[in-house]
């Protein structure tokens, strides 16, 4: 913080012209001295309660606004979908919210929630399902009864189901309209296999085959107390809330726990793959398997990826592809971790057709550099400082914090993880970064996936670039070999026969 003298001068000098004040201002931000930021991450045990049926409840109250939010979170998701029923999870989740309940028809239920200004949602994702209500505290008693009826006894109204099915069927027709959507879908297919839940996509026939009975069974297998955790934030009294929940959940039978999440069995073949689409800008994804969440090297891998492409403008890929060469607006890399198995590393950029090969080369150059040269101490420190200084934001909102605690408990995050997180990040050095780059980046075993007009992309910028030093073609990668992914019918995802 600024010294008292500087401050006084600033106040007095302001009237006498700008220069006098400017003299007190450090010439570079490195010369500003900052107060220490004292922050201790909150501990889950301070917020955790347990109901008599064993359901954990994480609560944090605040009286800033007269609103309360209650989230019921359940283990279970799309990974439990039976064969041929891709889309069941998402449809069931949407129908829980829109299909009415035992007490009310769908439109009456919607009307009731809307009139009470209660925001209610329900959904089933890949791994977890949830139902949330946010309403004025004064309306909670009325709204929560209906909410619980919806969660426990959804009606799955058949008219609403047909509306939803119609929407989904229209939705899948648009699947090939957006190049990025194609790229992500095909990358997931290549990486995980088309039937693994991380990649699986609904089709016309899977959507058409889903019945109310399928949804009832799927709902019952997930939405029960054995799978449940609860979080409550907003304006409420904690002990009153606990007994309110206790009463509301009374008589709800526990049911079976959802199965564990499966690991992928698919192996992928490295190489260049392309999907034909006539468009002026090309989407490129370069990927392979990544890192597991609790891998002891995870902090070094995180720092490494942030230096490479994960920290916006400060990272190398963005710097090279976007800032220096002006080839893309969006360019970078992500290292996605998974609890049960290694996630996916992916570098991405979108560029005009002729510079696809050049930008790809730049990304491979950056990977090569980070594997073969130690990062500078400055670079490592900038990233470490960023991770450490932004750490409090992880716990910025009470809702996000309670959500994190639920997820940590469900996935058995090691105790003390957050308390020691900053130290682990701080201990990473340049050698660790280089080691992580060599152990976790495999450019020779990557998939390069390209969506765009291949014949032109292949030629690179050899015809359009004035500058010979920058010429690149797709011949440079994997010996010029490339595999075409057949264009798919957007509704069935089966290859369509060539039109010409």
């Amino acid at each position: 913080m600024r010294s008292l003298i500087t401050t006084t001068c600033a106040l007095m000098c302001i009237g006498s012209g700008a220069l006098a004040v400017a003299a007190d201002i450090p010439t570079h931000p490195a010369d500003i001295s900052f107060e220490e930021l004292n922050f201790t991450p909150p501990s889950p045990s301070d917020f955790r309660n347990e109901l008599s049926n064993g359901v954990p409840v994480f609560m944090a109250s605040s009286d800033e606004f007269p609103l309360v939010t209650i989230t019921l979170s359940f283990k279970g998701g799309a990974y439990m979908e039976p064969d041929g029923m891709a889309g069941l999870a998402a449809m069931t989740g949407a129908m829980i919210r829109t299909g009415g309940s035992s007490m009310m028809s769908p439109s009456d239920m919607d009307e009731e929630f809307d009139f009470m200004a209660a925001n209610v949602s329900a959904g089933i994702g890949d791994r977890n399902a949830n139902a949330t209500i946010n309403c004025l505290t004064s309306n909670l008693d009325d709204a929560f009864g209906l909410f619980m009826d919806m969660v426990q006894q959804p009606r799955f109204d058949s008219d609403r189901l047909e509306v939803l099915r119609g929407q989904q069927l229209e939705q899948i027709k648009t699947r090939d309209d957006d190049g990025l959507q194609i790229a992500l879908r095909e990358m997931n297919f290549l990486m995980w296999g088309e039937d693994f839940f991380e990649a699986r996509q609904p089709t016309k026939s899977s959507l058409e085959s889903i019945s109310v009975d399928d949804m009832r069974a799927f709902h019952a297998s997930i939405f029960n107390p054995a799978n449940m955790m609860v979080s409550v934030t907003g304006d409420f009294d904690e002990s009153t809330m606990l007994s309110f929940l206790e009463k509301s959940f009374q008589g709800w039978e526990s049911g079976a726990r959802s199965p564990e999440i499966p690991s992928p069995t698919h192996t992928f073949t490295p190489g260049v793959y392309y999907y034909e689409k006539d468009q002026p800008q090309v989407q490129v994804l370069i990927g392979h398997r990544g890192v597991q969440r609790d891998d002891p090297n995870a902090p070094a891998v995180e720092v490494m990826n942030d230096i490479l492409g994960g920290s916006g403008f400060t990272s190398r890929i963005t710097n090279s592809v976007r800032t220096r060469e002006g080839l893309a607006y969006t360019a970078g890399s992500v290292m996605r971790s998974r609890v049960e198995y290694p996630g996916m590393f992916m570098s991405y950029f979108f560029t005009k057709v002729p510079t696809t090969a050049l930008a790809t080369r730049l990304v491979f150059d950056e990977i090569d550099t980070i594997q073969n040269e130690a990062a500078t101490t400055d670079e490592v420190e900038t990233i470490q400082n960023n991770i450490i200084e932004t750490f409090p934001r992880t716990f910025e909102s009470k809702g996000a914090t309670m959500g994190l605690f639920m997820s940590d408990e469900r996935t058995n995050r090691p105790a003390g993880y957050w308390e020691n997180y900053r130290e682990r990040v701080r201990s990473v050095n340049s050698q660790d970064v280089q080691q992580a780059a060599n152990d976790y980046l495999h450019p020779e075993d990557a998939v390069i996936l390209i969506v765009g007009p291949w014949e032109e992309i292949k030629k690179g910028n050899s015809e359009s670039e004035a500058d010979e030093a920058r010429i690149a073609t797709m011949e440079e990668f994997f010996g010029g070999k490339a595999t075409q992914i057949p264009t798919r019918d957007p509704e069935t995802l089966k290859p369509v026969e060539s039109q010409d």
Binding site: M1, F34, F65, L136
Partner: protein, 600 residues
């Protein structure tokens, strides 16, 4: 670095007191104006400890541009991340020399291109006058000189230092947005780093380097491709907007036309900066965990240094002229079929704005009129919604919908006009109106729960005329009556002052053949028994028809009458047309099994 399109940032309302609670909310930031005219709004708040959202908003956007420099507001926003005289270079003095030399070369290249290359384009010799592949010898020489200078300058450039300084100090979410009316810069910083923010932001307002201009130009062009040219309806929507606004400067895209993007020089941009980024045209906003007394001192010493370099910019003279007829736009894209009907509404802060907002809410959501009618009851749409967008100088109100299955866009359009007729002729019920008001009231609280959402609400309303709006608008919403809604519907939504856009899937030629069952499903229940048997007889009779030209005449007549056919009969009509077309082609090919829907 986004170009804010549509209502990217919605301004929620505040201070509605629902009947069930007695807690009043009021947004009262500490106001503070420096001697140079820069205003600050400070909003200390401890609900989210240790963090601050800070930024500033400039009263400048694409409305302040003119043909030739469209997109310059957004481009300048990009360049303001390129460092300052001191940040981003290891040798400020030498850097200035390079910048001056580059400016000179760039100016020559532009003059030459606008002259020689444009002439070549007009004569049809080349397609793109800016494409290096079309360079003449002179231009090639200038370009290589520019490349040489850029390469040399890059030896002393510290790439992205502006970003790294924030990143290494815990800044996050640094970004900016340009809209038609304003440009806003913001970041989240830890509470102990407010002085860093003041240093960085005041420095870029005093001496922005506008470095790496040419590379950034290509980044923005890629952004344009990503947002407009490679998206489903992007380029078409841009032209529809352009038609809709007629005289208003809202008629060009925020990101700019491609020709203009290629052409600006540092001089254009610097002049624009000096005109519109003067302290008197800026408001700083700080929200979060900080001490207001400390913040005032920082703000005064850092931002107080910024000089006003030019006289106050002239206010906008051109206002929008009313639409004098119906505008129709139709285009094909790789997109789901969709229709939009758009009207002029009112600018931000107009007394009728709240009425339009309530009207949009009546129509939207699962209990809104559009979903109930178009999606559920009639089953003709997969989605439909309405939106009111009140901007600084004018507003627009839109209806848009996507059809279900083979439903014609004309049918969706007709369904909207029916909804409109209801608004014009029947008073909204008390309960329906109360439901919308309850929702708005709760949303006022929801919109205040987060530092960054509070930051946007305060800064944008301030740019539009005053943050006090946040406290006034909810009162206006609460006062809207059923009569107001009827009056506004009649006053603003007229058939001869609307714009209609239809987007259809490219190559949608393989039209799906309708069956008699499709017709059955499309008719009102009580009509089925009357219409279907009659149709079946007609179809049977058609099979023995041999006069192709007579059938063609029938077809032409049907086309002419299409507009008069009520929406519930559109599918039936289309079915008949398809059957006639099929018969004509059978007759003409001399076979009874003519091919259908062949690809082109």
């Amino acid at each position: 670095m986004r170009a804010l399109r549509k209502a990217a940032i919605s301004v929620a309302a505040i201070l509605m007191i629902p009947a069930s609670t007695s807690i009043a909310q009021n947004v009262q930031p500490i106001e503070y104006t420096l001697d140079n005219g820069m205003k600050f709004l400070l909003m200390p708040r401890d609900e989210q400890p240790n963090v601050i959202t800070a930024g500033w908003i400039a009263n400048v956007g694409s409305v302040n541009e003119r043909p030739g420099i469209t997109g310059v507001s957004h481009f300048l926003e990009h360049l303001l991340f390129k460092g300052t005289d001191t940040v981003g270079t290891s040798d400020a003095e030498q850097d200035q020399v390079f910048r001056d030399q580059l400016t000179a070369v760039r100016k020559n290249m532009r003059a030459y291109t606008l002259d020689v290359q444009y002439q070549r384009m007009y004569r049809g010799e080349i397609e793109n006058p800016w494409d290096p592949a079309n360079d003449t010898d002179e231009l090639r020489e200038m370009r290589s000189e520019m490349t040489r200078l850029q390469d040399e300058q890059s030896q002393i450039t510290i790439k992205n230092e502006f970003d790294s300084l924030y990143t290494g100090n815990g800044g996050s979410g640094m970004n900016a947005g340009t809209s038609q009316d304003f440009t806003v810069f913001y970041i989240n910083v830890p509470s102990n780093k407010l002085e860093l923010w003041a240093w960085m932001e005041s420095d870029r307002l005093i001496s922005p380097s506008l470095r790496e201009l040419d590379a950034e130009r290509f980044v923005v062009i890629e952004e344009r491709r990503q947002r407009l040219e490679a998206t489903a309806t992007g380029k078409l929507g841009e032209q529809f907007d352009s038609m809709f606004w007629v005289a208003s400067p809202y008629n060009w895209p925020v990101i700019g036309w491609m020709s203009d993007l290629m052409s600006y020089t540092e001089g254009d941009i610097r002049e624009y900066f000096e005109t519109y980024y003067q302290p008197a045209n800026l408001t700083g906003v700080i929200v979060g965990d900080f001490d207001p007394a400390d913040a005032k001192q920082l703000v005064e010493s850092y931002f107080g240094r910024i000089p006003n370099r030019r006289p106050k910019a002239a206010p906008l003279a051109t206002y929008s002229v009313p639409l004098l007829g119906e505008i129709r736009f139709s285009g094909e894209c790789d997109c789901q079929n969709q229709v939009e009907v758009r009207y002029r509404s009112v600018p931000f802060g107009h007394p009728d704005e709240a009425v339009f907002d309530v009207m949009a809410d009546l129509l939207n959501g699962r209990t809104g009129r559009l979903y109930k009618s178009l999606v559920e009851d009639q089953g003709i749409a997969t989605g439909a919604n309405a939106s009111n967008r009140a901007q600084h100088y004018a507003g627009s109100f839109s209806f848009s919908a996507r059809p279900k299955g083979n439903v014609e866009l004309a049918e969706l359009e007709a369904a909207w006009y029916e909804q409109l007729e209801l608004l014009k002729t029947e008073l909204v019920s008390d309960r329906e109106l109360q439901k919308v008001k309850n929702g708005q009231a709760a949303d006022t609280f929801r919109g205040l729960q987060d530092n960054s959402s509070l930051f946007f609400q305060i800064s944008i309303t301030e740019a539009y005329g005053g943050y006090e709006y946040l406290n006034e608008h909810p009162t206006r919403i609460a006062a809207v009556t059923a009569e107001d809604i009827m009056r506004v519907a009649n006053e603003y939504f007229s058939a001869d002052a609307r714009a209609v856009a239809s987007y259809t899937r490219r190559g949608g030629a393989e039209e799906v053949l309708l069956t008699i069952d499709d017709v059955r499903d499309s008719l009102p229940e009580d009509m089925v028994e009357m219409v279907v048997p009659q149709l079946e007889m007609q179809i049977t009779a058609l099979a023995s028809e041999t006069d192709a030209s007579g059938l063609q005449a029938q077809l032409d007549e049907m086309e002419a009458q299409q507009g008069m056919v009520p929406p519930q009969f559109q599918t039936a009509m289309k079915f008949v047309k398809q059957q006639i077309e099929k018969r004509i082609s059978e007759i003409e090919s001399g076979s009874d099994s003519a091919e259908q829907g062949g690809d082109e």
